[in-house]
């Protein structure tokens, strides 16, 4: 559900959570990013951090410059103003991410967790069962068959949260409890209904079942794609996963190593949320691809 009025929650003495809805949908996420843009442009005094996420924004503020009450008033007003003037189209880059599904490294990571922390089914099998799929081939086909929308950054520098744009490719997964203390760099994970790519060897709780040799974060900005920024993705980018073989994986790794790798990307497209909504209306979301 998308809320008529934004809801606010106190987040300690220096931040608040502004909730625009409680579902995971493209429309809602699009609103979140539009609102974040408006808030930034307003340059409201006292706002320090703005963290847009799936359906909400975390706003951190300096209580010596603005009170919680004044801040929530201003944010509510901006939300109202924005609701009356829809932004319909955004430039949107597309990245093709080469992926080795069911790779040995994520397997080894899961085995390590099972040996040291807690027993659990292998993540690929768990995803097949939880989503009523035939087998892991179906998992690979379905996961790779849609474009993904970069709905949020955060959690870790370079990490992206991806929403599938084709509802027929929707998959859900529980999270690890307790979380893993490490995950191989480049792992593709699924948690809730979000796909993420781990930019580094970080802790994590998503189910893991594939890996990309393509870096999405580069502190030293060595490769061409990182000339402007240490992190590859920005909100409103899109991603397509391209299944590859082990040989192709190794080949890409070599090119990354020697500095010649060029990230496959398309930067001349715009994403129209109106055309997207029209397309959605014409497909049967209860089927699988």
């Amino acid at each position: 559900m998308i809320f008529e009025q934004a809801e606010f929650r106190i987040g300690g003495d220096r931040s608040l959570l502004m909730m625009l809805g409680d579902e995971m949908s493209f429309d809602l996420n699009f609103k979140v990013h539009s609102l974040a843009r408006s808030i930034r442009e307003s340059r409201t005094r006292g706002i320090i951090e703005l963290i847009p996420e799936m359906a909400s924004l975390l706003v951190s503020y300096d209580p010596d410059l603005i009170s919680y009450e004044d801040l929530t008033s201003e944010l509510a007003a901006m939300h109202q103003a924005m609701s009356h003037s829809e932004i319909d189209e955004l430039p949107s880059r597309m990245f093709y991410v080469p992926v080795l599904y069911f790779d040995p490294w994520t397997r080894a990571c899961v085995d390590d967790y099972r040996a040291k922390i807690k027993d659990k089914p292998w993540d690929g099998d768990l995803l097949v069962v939880m989503n009523g799929l035939e087998d892991i081939s179906a998992l690979r086909r379905i996961h790779a068959s849609t474009e993904y929308w970069v709905a949020a950054l955060g959690f870790w520098p370079g990490l992206c949260s991806l929403l599938p744009l084709d509802p027929r490719s929707r998959l859900t997964a529980p999270k690890y409890d307790p979380p893993r203390t490490w995950t191989p760099k480049g792992t593709i994970g699924l948690g809730g209904a979000i796909t993420c790519i781990y930019p580094d060897q970080t802790p994590g709780g998503y189910q893991i079942f594939a890996r990309t040799p393509m870096p999405i974060w580069d502190r030293s900005q060595r490769l061409e794609a990182f000339k402007e920024s240490l992190a590859l993705f920005r909100p409103s980018d899109r991603v397509r996963f391209i299944p590859i073989s082990s040989e192709e994986y190794e080949d890409i790794e070599r090119k990354v190593e020697d500095g010649s790798y060029k990230h496959p990307q398309v930067t001349y497209q715009r994403f129209s949320s109106r055309l997207y909504r029209d397309w959605l209306a014409g497909i049967d979301a209860t089927t699988r691809v």
Binding site: G12, G154, T172, A231
Partner: protein, 336 residues
């Protein structure tokens, strides 16, 4: 410059208020967990409260100075010595080039802070000198201090012989029990009333599996309100799963049944609920607690939490300093 002879356990360069404005991209504020002790150390050393200094955790470093400067050590008692003689805490001390400062194991408290006149002069990264070691950014080449490094310090002019008034210092406890102020929310309404009562009336033990990313707690089970189980599938299957959202600094993040207090190097977002958030003013208590210590959480209003923080900010000014009678100096004694 000073040379690192022994690195200690995760000693890092931090500044205050840390790295601001980049949390959306995954860079947390970092900075000192006990910002109260940290700021007072800087004032003693003649710096602005925010200058870069060292945070020592549990086991401190040994460093050799390569130039004269004025320093101050505050926070935990970690058996600080200069050239083998005990160094008083909460005082500004003149150091000569060649002298060796050693910080040992924490006896009372857990984190000590060392300020240097002029501040530590490593490069700014995204506006701050604070270390975010998980991404290899800031501080001494992105990570905790390493043996053999030479760390530059600025050319400030501190004055020895100043001390922080006793009543202006954070009151470290020896009882190993702490009262930690929390503000309810953002997701306290996901916990049922029995669970809320249980949280606020139980002992929570600080686990050894804790770090600047998060302080893991051990305690009773959490029980959930209907909201936590009657929700759309995209939130996730477990009661503590929620649609990914921003994490406030200080949030008590509930990963399944595992509460983890998100401190200075914590992730910015994730998919678990945050039923309560530790007040900024209680962070120094987190910083000074050791695995095995017991926390009792105490709910305060937003208004009161902000007042508590303002009070500590008010103590981090020169008004908290007084002169020590008879200037102390650690130069080697001249033979008579």
């Amino acid at each position: 410059m000073f040379e690192v002879l022994k690195a200690g356990l995760e000693t890092s360069v931090q500044d205050f208020p840390g790295r601001l404005g980049f949390w959306e991209q995954g860079f947390p504020p970092s900075g000192p967990i006990d910002a109260w002790s940290f700021r007072l150390a800087n004032l003693l050393a003649g710096n602005d409260v925010g200058a870069a200094g060292l945070e020592c955790q549990f086991l401190g470093p040994t460093i050799r100075f390569e130039r004269d400067c004025v320093i101050a050590v505050t926070g935990a008692d970690m058996g600080a010595e200069v050239d083998g003689s005990p160094l008083p805490l909460w005082e500004s001390i003149a150091i000569r080039g060649g002298q060796v400062l050693s910080i040992g194991a924490a006896r009372v408290g857990a984190r000590a802070y060392i300020a240097f006149s002029g501040g530590i002069d490593v490069p700014l990264v995204m506006g701050s000198r604070s270390t975010f070691h998980m991404a290899g950014v800031g501080g001494a080449d992105g990570y905790a201090l390493k043996r053999g490094q030479h760390i530059p310090i600025g050319g400030g002019s501190g004055t020895p012989g100043w001390r922080v008034r006793q009543q202006c210092r954070p009151p470290l406890v020896v009882t190993r029990r702490w009262e930690i102020e929390v503000v309810a929310g953002p997701n306290d309404d996901w916990i049922d009333s029995a669970g809320q009562e249980r949280f606020l009336t139980s002992d929570w033990k600080l686990s050894g599996k804790s770090s600047r990313t998060g302080f893991r707690l051990e305690g009773p089970r959490w029980t959930f309100a209907k909201k936590a189980t009657r929700k759309l599938p995209e939130h996730g299957q477990e009661p503590s799963n929620i649609l990914d959202h921003g994490y406030p600094l200080g949030a008590i993040n509930l990963a399944g049944q595992t509460p983890i207090i998100l401190v200075n190097d914590a992730p910015s977002t994730g998919g678990f609920i945050n039923p309560y958030t530790v007040a900024t003013a209680a962070f120094w208590k987190l910083a000074q607690s050791r695995p095995g210590d017991i926390y009792r959480f105490y709910a305060v209003s937003l208004h009161d939490a902000q007042a508590l923080r303002r009070r500590i900010d008010g103590l981090c000014t020169r008004k908290s300093l007084e002169q020590v009678s008879g200037v102390r100096d650690h130069a080697p004694a001249t033979p008579t």
